[in-house]
Symmetry: C2
Subunit: 346 residues, 2 copies
């Protein structure tokens, strides 16, 4: 039944107009309410209020506000992030080393010589300190031995299988849950503001691409890392790419600006790292004109994560920390700036 | 004056409603008209009607129609294009060689030995046949001598300067106007349908990135080519990347799938080339599951462009042509399939 049938003649059109008016008012109210909600909703809820959070928010605001003298057009809003120690944890050794250890165990029957040579001997004994003692060089040897000889598809399958089952020795969580909740929020916040987010990491590119898209929401073509040569082959008439033991790019230290130029071809305006391996990336990013943001995650939280910097074998932060102080880069004090470290367990 | 003031009492509201009604009708008509126009507008006007055009249109339609068994989600709509001979002309030699020749002339006072050694001797004499006789190896030598030793910024400036002034010896047009109009339309057509377009070329990555974004609408991060090593340096405290004479990737032949995997990390579903250097890229693209498109530009138009294939020194098309026939790849007959070759002169 239409209500206006009861209305006096001549006023026939009024209720319709009134209804329309009400509907418009309601819509306006809803839009206002939605807008207010969005404004009230903190895009970085795991960051404590303070100077660090303010610096990030201010930078994003000034680079995305039309008419601002610091406005940056969307195609130039390139943000690069280191991975180990910046987006996920890296202690007691880079997580990719745990993957390599498990691969060593699986392949050891074919390699009797590993029983007596480091870092393989320690790897097989599950002796993390022994592996760590061989330093980044040892880690690189392990990686080479376990990251070549198979096709790219086979390797991706190995990583996926490992990532879905292996657990961290201290937290007993799967490694993909040892990502930093505040950094996940930062990645989203930047993308919501028209930024294109990239990973630029010393870690293996193929290793990261196997899981990082699902975890960080970053597509494979925006994941740049250290990489080996690939060889094109036809196997039973079907083309494959075989991972070679020869290094093509060490995407660390001075290799990071090289990786950025090669893959992106533009200078980022926003960069986040956590160690001396990120120093050149931050220097490169801040060397351009216009607004630039350089950030470092300082691991200061021994209770909830780890506390380390100048003397650490993994993720050493020394020269870059001095440069951050000298140049006014943003330094995240993990203990005080982060309300929460890891996302809730699934 | 409001027209309803002249209307009889009681009908006071009607004209407003009538006006509203008319406005809505007009809007609907305009939308219908715009829709009809868009449907009628041929997205590939420089392609003659026929099997080739049909194959392209059918592929795009079936991969982008929701509910189609061949529907491909947007993030997997990766299209890769060779550049030389596919997007722009490549005769009598790759255009990058003309750039190298001009750079040789500019630098020759510092290199007296070039007066007596090939391909430099021919380059300085403007003897294109002499340069061509040194083949792709000679071209590579020229490229190395003229594409390293400077910073990436300096190199980009050199290329931009050259591209805005140098002219093709036969057509006397600037090189960026010797791009293929039908391929420009194809790039737009694909992007309008949610495809991400990439260049995967044997040509120099830094050389292409200097001008190809403006010409093809493809951003630098989607331009993949042959590339040299880069070295990070601080000059007066300012970081620069210096181009090294050492090759990092020959993005040609079997190097193309390597470049694709390294930079994109996904298998394309659509690939276009024109020579044997594109064979492995087409094999790689068509080796995945689901709908796949492989296309070759066959240079058959001696009058409007050039006619060459199996015996050409530049852009040789022999094995890939046989494979195209055997596997049913799409072969563009330039003479018959293209209404127009180059865009109108500016």
């Amino acid at each position: 039944m239409r209500s206006e049938t009861a209305m006096p003649k001549g006023m026939n059109d009024r209720p319709k107009a009134w209804k329309r008016h009400t509907a418009v008012l309601l819509l306006v109210a809803m839009l206002w309410w939605a807008g207010a909600c969005m404004a009230a909703q903190d895009p970085l809820p795991s960051w404590n209020d303070g100077a660090t959070k303010q610096q990030i928010e201010n930078f994003v605001k000034k680079t995305t506000t039309a008419g601002s003298p610091d406005f940056v057009p969307p195609e130039q809003r390139i943000a690069v992030f280191d991975n180990d120690g910046t987006l996920w944890a890296e202690q007691p050794v880079y997580f990719q080393v745990f993957f390599a250890l498990d691969q060593v165990k699986a392949q050891s029957p074919q390699h009797p010589e590993w029983q007596t040579t480091e870092p393989f001997k320690s790897a097989l004994a599950g002796d993390l300190k022994g592996v760590a003692a061989s330093g980044e060089k040892g880690a690189a040897e392990l990686v080479a031995a376990t990251h070549s000889g198979m096709t790219t598809d086979e390797f991706a399958r190995n990583v996926n299988q490992w990532v879905s089952t292996a657990r961290h020795p201290k937290t007993h969580r799967v490694f993909t849950e040892m990502v930093y909740q505040p950094m996940l929020e930062l990645l989203h916040f930047l993308r919501d503001n028209g930024y294109k987010t990239y990973i630029v990491s010393g870690g293996g590119q193929d290793f990261m691409r196997a899981w990082a898209t699902a975890v960080y929401g970053i597509p494979p073509e925006q994941i740049i890392g250290s990489q080996g040569e690939l060889k094109f082959e036809l196997r039973d008439g079907k083309p494959v790419l075989v991972k070679q033991p020869k290094v093509a790019l060490v995407d660390d230290g001075p290799g990071k600006p090289v990786g950025i130029e090669r893959f992106i071809g533009r200078k980022p305006i926003f960069a986040f790292g956590n160690s001396d391996g990120d120093q050149q990336m931050l220097e490169w990013t801040t060397s351009g004109d216009g607004p630039r943001f350089a950030g470092l995650v300082h691991h200061t939280d021994a209770a909830r994560e780890w506390a380390y910097d100048r003397d650490s074998k993994v993720g050493k932060l020394d020269k870059a920390l001095d440069e951050a102080t000298a140049k006014g880069w943003t330094v995240v004090d993990m203990k005080n700036d982060w309300k929460q470290i890891f996302p809730p367990e699934k």
